[in-house]
Symmetry: C2
Subunit: 215 residues, 2 copies
DNA sequence: TAGATTGTTAATCGATTAACAATC
DNA sequence: TAGATTGTTAATCGATTAACAATC
């Protein structure tokens, strides 16, 4: 009943967090049971898609009845690895890095932030959420001792390649990449999740301009 | 030669900023001419896809020769609307909003940031990049006078719906949405570009966990 | 001209939707 | 049991890749 999982497509995976979010809200509003049809209406997609997606991982529903909200939520939490607490470091505590470190709740999403690094001596010694900002000098030592699995990259583009290369050597397996550097081209065996804010903004520019053109 | 454009798919649009980026880099490194094959190798996709994508908008190449880098860059800039300077406001100047306002170069990407708003009295009066943070009270007045077309939402989830509703009434046509609120469900005729950092992080969690499982 | 590479049409592949038998 | 809704197979749709004639 628990896990079929066999090369799930990225399209499916990217929908899971949204299911997770909606199920969480349903729980908060006291809904205990939901059918794929009702969930599909609330989320703006098809019931078929929901059933297909969920059945990549197992049969979580019950014919004639639907899905138990809390149970489905727990299953998706487990699938997403919410309890995994992957040891994580953040590189680059400038504007963006600082905001990410203080704004995100990592613990609820499968991560445990254990270190923050920045070259700028002015930042060193400061703390974010109780984690001190260290200089890059001690990074190798830190990695060998604490074995971070994930690194968040809020560095300027030019600094990324060198640091990423070393981090991979020291055992990092995944990057949350905010820089405009195409990491996956250089590290094909590493997981890279990009947040390309500039690309997102340009996409918005195109779409708004197009939208205005059609009026 | 200039613009065919006829219901371009979002998949194509989302690749344009990346082409734009790569062409920019090529220009910087002094490359003046490139074939779809060589660009495809550098970007890690197929030559076919590049030619298909570009031909949604027009025939920018030359048989037997390839593409002139600078010319193609300019065309894509124009397609993306980089010169449009859409008047834009930012709502919510907390950690994340502050970082976005100070970190992003809006002017190079089709936007012109003209106002920042936050309810917190402590922030009011402060400036980010020369733009003062105003209270929400004057928002309606401001919109009527300055007609912002785009709004960046860095607000807590619960505040989003009400503000978005009013902004749409006052003429806003597009949102850059950092909140975990599904705007597009409520405003089907508005352009919404989501940056769901939490979803991105959960996706990373899944993928890294999966990656580790397979070793 | 011959060689190269585009623009475009056709073939393939993958993702979404529809349909329905299984079953709670 | 009858009604409802799942899990799953089949059909459709869209996106990517391959092929090639047009042409610089």
């Amino acid at each position: 009943m628990s896990t079929k999982r066999d090369n799930i497509s990225l399209s499916v995976i990217r929908r899971l967090p949204r299911y997770h979010r909606f199920l969480h809200d349903l729980m908060l509003s006291g809904v205990t049971r939901i059918s794929s049809r009702e969930l599909s209406e609330r989320m703006g997609l098809t019931a078929s898609q929901i059933r297909q997606d969920l059945n990549c991982f197992g049969g979580f529903g019950q014919q004639g009845y639907g899905y138990i909200v809390e149970q489905l939520y727990d299953e998706i939490s487990r699938i997403l690895g919410v309890g995994n607490n992957l040891p994580t470091i953040l590189l680059g505590a400038g504007n963006l890095g600082h905001a990410i470190a203080s704004h995100m709740v990592f613990e609820d999403r499968g991560f445990h932030l254990i270190g923050i690094f920045d070259r700028d001596p002015k930042l060193q010694g400061q703390e974010i959420n109780g984690i001190p900002i260290s200089s890059g000098d001690c990074l190798e030592e830190f990695c060998k001792q604490n074995k971070p699995v994930v690194a968040i990259l809020c560095l300027p583009r030019d600094a990324v390649f060198d640091i990423a290369k070393r981090l991979v050597e020291w055992g990092v397996e995944g990057f949350w990449n905010f820089s405009h550097f195409d990491l996956s081209l250089h590290f094909p065996n590493i997981v890279v999740e990009n947040v390309h804010l500039g690309d997102s903004l340009l996409t918005l520019s195109y779409r708004v301009s197009e939208h205005r053109r059609q009026e």
